[in-house]
């Protein structure tokens, strides 16, 4: 069985972001970019499944500008066998990404598609669900545990939901999106980084996959949240009640 993992190149989680002065988005020039942390978890899970003998190949895919290749190389260094880069400059929204992933799935025919639950730049949490809908595949999102059954061709997924944990059994092929507690991603070691240089990264275009980038969304403005005001130390409960009622208008 082949596993496909979709990974996204995002602003590194430790970077302090700034809004561009024209308010069209976040400043990304000269900023460190890395693989989305949830995508790292997704790739790690795929590698674990392959190492347990239940999968034969892990293919990492990524959409975006030319620099995505760096992120894919990190994925190859972690242990993916092949990578596919779909060249797509410009803004990409979840529905477009989902359509591209559907096209790639029809080409590669994996038994499992694993994604991170959301990207840390847009926090959409939509792509996994949309691609499952487009493919008409079962989905197990916010996975905190994944157990595959090769004979029954199914996956048992524990999902982290608001009320606790929900366990689903999905018939393969299926879509799984990963949550934080699923695993701890491995380091890309120096020898593996060196070996990754010779692993193939296939380049594909949107025309080849017959997907049209049609943006149904337009970003009107991006602003920083209002600066947090200084706290005030109050002298009595009455003062607190008064402030909550008359200043904050919450009671």
């Amino acid at each position: 069985m082949k596993i496909m993992v979709a990974i996204k190149r995002v602003v590194d989680y430790a970077v302090k972001i700034r809004i561009k002065s024209d308010k069209t988005g976040v400043e990304t020039t000269n900023i460190k970019m890395s693989m989305n942390p949830f995508c790292e978890i997704a790739l790690e899970e795929a590698l674990k499944i392959k190492e347990s003998g239940l999968a034969s190949e892990v293919v990492a895919v990524s959409l975006g500008p030319g620099q995505c290749v760096d992120t894919l190389r990190t994925g190859l260094a972690m242990g993916a066998d092949r990578a596919i880069h779909v060249d797509a400059p410009g803004a990409l929204y979840p529905l477009t990404v989902a359509k591209v992933l559907k096209a790639l799935v029809e080409v590669e025919k994996p038994g499992l598609l694993i994604l991170g639950k959301q990207a840390i730049d847009d926090d959409c949490n939509q792509t996994g669900q949309m691609v499952a809908g487009l493919l008409n595949w079962p989905q197990g999102t916010f996975a905190s545990k994944v157990v595959l059954d090769k004979e029954k061709k199914s996956a048992t997924v524990d999902r982290e939901v608001d009320g606790g944990l929900e366990t689903l059994c999905l018939d393969l092929p299926a879509v799984i999106t990963t949550d934080l507690r699923l695993n701890q991603p491995r380091y890309a070691t120096l020898p593996n980084i060196m070996k990754a240089k010779s692993k193939p990264i296939k380049k594909m275009s949107l025309e080849e996959l017959k997907v049209e980038v049609r943006s149904d969304l337009e970003v009107v403005q991006v602003t920083a949240p209002p600066v947090r005001k200084a706290g005030v130390i109050l002298s009595s409960v009455d003062e607190l009640v008064d402030k909550l009622k008359n200043e904050a208008h919450v009671i």
């Binding site: 430790a14 000269n30 460190k32 491995r186 380091y187 070691t189 120096l190 020898p191």
Partner: protein, 573 residues
């Protein structure tokens, strides 16, 4: 040999102290599984201007001579440039030699110095002074950006650059020759146990090994001690300063690209050497910083707070008032100059850049000399690998290069300030306008920085005003702007040679100076359950500046590399 192995494994404090003092590695005990070993012709530790210039020069020589050498650069920062911080007014002398077509190759060097001013600050005033600097033909740049570009150039030439990997250990053969380095084991928990993600470090063995770790490089210091390189060189100890810097984005009408300003005097007193810089870069960005020599006397001195004071000065404040801070950081720099250059060659390789110490103090520039030293070491290394010559040619070529001539001419400026600010300025003026270093004497440095701190009982605490949140900030706010991060679940990389010294010596005798000079609030004295003050080390905050390694009065704090990829994330510094 057998006895040595026994002592390597012993856990007594004294043995650990002497082990580290003598620079021995605990190779046999740091990883049981055999580490993977990769061989290169040249291994370079540190992806800064010196290391990358050496790598580029090696590949250029290969092309000129139609041979190939495998060159590997390991860099502890998450990406090339992440740990690079500098003023920086760049003198392109070495770059012109290394990559003459740097303009066509789109080096991020575009803002020429347009004006050059020098002020003497008092608490409320700013007195214009004759400018001692000559920055014609120089550029205001971000060294972090420039280093990133240099890294790309190196990779284009075939250099293998590996950011995110920290060189932890020097590897020796039976004859005590350096044969390479080993990177950190990754995935070790705070308690020392192996986590699920454990990966052993990797050994990188080079026929020639160049150390380009920057000022007070952790492995370079071990090598200097082991082979006694200070005595074999110019003889004096190295002296240092701590530079704390911010890059601001200011109003367009206040921004003048290429404007260069230096100040002396306030907020520092007449016994503390140092000064500030303010450089206008491009894109409305302004670099501002304060450099304080680390041989200050008062243990209550707090370089970070002095920097906040600087920004409050009426000559500085208006520029910053409506602006935003983009990044913050700190790094130590060498001030020893000519007198402190160690003999930089050892069996198996050499030391380049600020790890040796080629900064020109009166010019306050070290990038050009660091790059040139890397190039000279590369030429020597090429001779060693291709023609069978000796690395000693590096020392010889240093002594006949413009680095030597420049540092020799500049050698008496900094030591003159041992006599105080005014005598120092007078002697500097004499040197600058008249003598230009053409005197038979060479002034000596004062005490090593860590010995210069007076006891707290002899000094008075300094009151620093609270941050206003507009031009002055508290440490956590500033630290957030440095994009610093380390995986918290790893052993602390700041080692105390004797864990009892902070509470027995630093706190009672010197009032815990590390809680004041560290620009990242790594060291804090907090009360434990019994009300006793204990040292708490917040290693996750560390900016890798090395001030603690330099200034700790008993030299009890040893800075070692944390897991690769951690530390600050400078991009415009």
């Amino acid at each position: 040999m057998f006895k040595k192995i026994i002592s390597l494994g012993s856990k007594s404090n004294w043995t650990q102290y002497s082990l580290i003092r003598n620079g021995f590695t605990r190779r046999r005990f740091s990883s049981e599984a055999a580490r993977e070993c990769i061989n290169y012709d040249v291994v370079i530790v540190g992806g800064g201007p010196a290391g990358l210039s050496a790598a580029i020069r090696l590949k250029q020589l290969c092309r000129e001579n139609d041979v190939d050498l495998s060159v590997c650069v390991v860099e502890k920062g998450a990406e090339v440039g992440a740990h690079i911080l500098s003023g920086n007014v760049f003198e392109p002398r070495a770059l012109n030699e290394l990559i003459p077509k740097w303009r066509e190759e789109e080096a991020p060097i575009s803002v020429g110095v347009s004006s050059d001013k020098f002020l003497l600050l008092t608490k409320k005033h700013a007195v214009p002074m004759p400018n001692p600097f000559d920055n014609k033909g120089n550029y205001v740049i971000s060294l972090s950006q420039f280093t990133r570009w240099l890294g790309q150039k190196a990779e284009e030439l075939g250099v293998e650059v590996y950011p995110g990997f920290a060189a932890k250990e020097v590897l020796f053969d039976e004859d005590e020759n350096v044969i390479g380095i080993a990177t950190n084991d990754m995935g070790i928990g705070k308690d020392g146990s192996k986590k699920d993600t454990y990966q052993p470090g990797v050994e990188l063995k080079g026929r020639v090994n160049l150390f380009a770790e920057g000022c007070r490089g952790s492995l370079s210091e071990k090598i200097i001690r082991k082979y006694d390189l200070r005595k074999k060189g110019q003889g004096q100890h190295q002296t240092y300063a701590l530079g704390i810097k911010e890059v601001w984005e200011v109003d367009a009408d206040k921004h003048k690209p290429g404007d260069v300003l230096h100040t002396l005097g306030w907020p520092l007193d007449h016994k503390t050497y140092g000064g500030s810089f303010l450089y206008h870069m491009q894109d409305r960005q302004v670099a501002i910083g304060l450099v304080c020599a680390l041989n200050y006397h008062n243990p209550f001195f707090n370089p970070y707070e002095e920097f906040q004071n600087l920004k409050r000065h009426p000559a500085i404040r208006p520029l910053l008032e409506n602006g935003t801070v983009l990044q913050y950081g700190a790094r130590t720099l060498n001030e020893g100059g000519f007198q402190s250059i160690p003999y930089p060659v050892f069996p198996g390789g050499a030391i380049v850049g600020c790890s040796a110490g080629f900064l020109n103090v009166p010019k306050i520039k070290g990038t050009h000399t660091a790059m040139k030293s890397g190039m000279l070491a590369a030429e020597s290394a090429f001779g060693v690998l291709h023609k069978g010559s000796n690395m000693k040619t590096y020392w010889e070529s240093l002594k006949t290069s413009w680095i030597w001539e420049e540092l020799h001419r500049a050698r008496n400026y900094r030591p003159a300030f041992e006599y105080g600010l005014l005598p120092g300025m007078a002697i500097s003026a004499l040197e600058h306008y008249l003598l230009k270093g053409r005197v038979p004497y060479t002034l000596k440095h004062g005490k090593p920085d860590h010995e210069a701190t007076h006891e707290a009982s002899r000094c008075s605490p300094i009151e620093y005003p609270k941050p206003d949140g507009i031009v002055s900030f508290d440490v956590p706010t500033s630290l957030y702007r440095s994009n610093t991060n380390h995986d918290h679940d790893q052993p602390t990389h700041l080692r105390l040679r004797d864990p009892k010294v902070p509470e027995l010596v630093n706190l009672p005798k010197y009032a815990g100076p590390e809680s004041r000079y560290c620009p990242a609030r790594v060291y804090e004295y907090v009360s434990d359950d019994n009300g006793q003050l204990k040292l708490q080390i917040n290693a996750q905050n560390c900016l890798h500046c090395k001030a603690c390694d330099i200034k700790d009065p008993k030299q009890n704090i040893e800075w070692t590399v944390p897991e690769g990829g951690g530390g600050p994330g400078y991009s415009v510094m």
